[in-house]
């Protein structure tokens, strides 16, 4: 985690802005919705910053706001499942054509992983997996951010890993045959 600036609210939010967008993207699975959620979350954080008491970390507080905004927005948009059907992993990967993922990961494999990430994992599994395994939060922190107990978060994490890693290894049957 990079160091958090100590100054004004707008500097703090500037620091967290990309992370808020990423959280919103993982929760909604849709770049346009993530844009809307990010802006609304920033405004809501500004309005309620005076109520932040430091009982939790700023990350947890901002994540909770982002999540609440995202869930509210998805509810208004007639549910998450309908929107999820509109997600095109192909488009998302194509849109990230400027990205150079690790060299040993080919485009098709990344496509498959992204597809699994957004379609095969439940909301909670995706969030916990992203927070813990990809962003490096501790499982207890992720549980607090999601408002669930640590054991439940751990269960979601293990199921998410099994799904994602199973998909990864599907691309390497020769490895599985060769091992052992």
């Amino acid at each position: 985690m990079s160091q958090i600036p100590e100054n004004s609210f707008e500097e703090l939010i500037g620091h967290f802005y990309p992370r808020i967008y990423r959280w919103a993207l993982v929760i909604t699975g849709d770049p346009d919705s993530a844009d809307d959620v990010t802006q609304e979350a920033v405004i809501r954080a500004y309005r309620h910053f005076g109520t932040f008491r430091g009982d939790s970390s700023l990350s947890t507080w901002l994540y909770t706001i982002t999540r609440n905004v995202a869930v509210g927005m998805m509810t208004r948009e007639n549910g998450r499942n309908q929107r999820q059907e509109q997600i095109s992993a192909e488009e998302m990967v194509a849109d990230a054509s400027g990205v150079t993922p690790a060299e040993s990961i080919d485009r098709n494999q990344l496509l498959e992983i992204v597809r699994s990430f957004f379609r095969e994992l439940s909301d909670r599994q995706r969030e916990v997996f992203d927070l813990v395994d990809l962003q490096g939060y501790r499982p207890t922190e992720a549980a607090e951010m999601l408002g669930i107990d640590a054991a439940t978060a751990r269960t979601h994490l293990l199921r998410a890993r099994r799904t994602i890693r199973g998909r990864i290894l599907d691309h390497y049957p020769e490895l599985l045959e060769g091992a052992g």
Binding site: S104, R165, L175
Partner: protein, 151 residues
């Protein structure tokens, strides 16, 4: 631990285990078995790629653009936000201190000042101040209440 057990573990284990650091038996196997090591490496590489992909996604508008639209940044000059809550809290704390402390002083109550290195009065509590701090014990006159000030 054989390869089938390791492959099962690799599906759910922590990143540190994949790196061969968290679980000694697993780490030993990964060190000795190139096939299982390769599977662990591919999992880590793929998850790193997924993270890179998500990190590469950017909002359509930068924070600066949003901040200007919301009036938080004006013509490149950052607006400092006035946050009244800390001021309110510190004012309230000062007021409470005055309300509690002033009557004690006005009553001319004997308020012995006891440092940690001085001889303590028998009826006062013994306070071990942290290093480089001094403890002040104010006798309120009420045996149920003693005020301890560390500074």
């Amino acid at each position: 631990m054989d390869c089938s057990e390791v492959r099962e573990l690799l599906l759910e284990c922590d990143i540190t285990d994949l790196q061969g650091e968290g679980n000694p038996p697993l780490g030993d196997h990964l060190q000795d078995c190139p096939g299982c090591r390769e599977i662990a490496d591919e999992i880590m590489t793929a998850e790193s790629a997924l993270n890179s992909f998500l990190e590469s996604r950017n909002p359509s508008r930068s924070y600066e653009e949003v901040a200007v639209e919301l009036g938080w940044i004006d013509g490149g000059k950052r607006i400092r936000f006035f946050r009244p809550l800390p001021l309110i809290i510190s004012t309230a704390a000062a007021a409470i201190l005055l309300v509690v402390a002033l009557p004690l002083f006005n009553r001319n109550v004997d308020l012995p000042i006891v440092g940690v290195s001085t001889e303590l009065r028998a009826e006062l509590p013994v306070v071990q101040a942290p290093s480089e701090k001094t403890a002040l014990i104010l006798d309120s006159g009420n045996p149920d209440y003693q005020i301890i000030w560390l500074f």
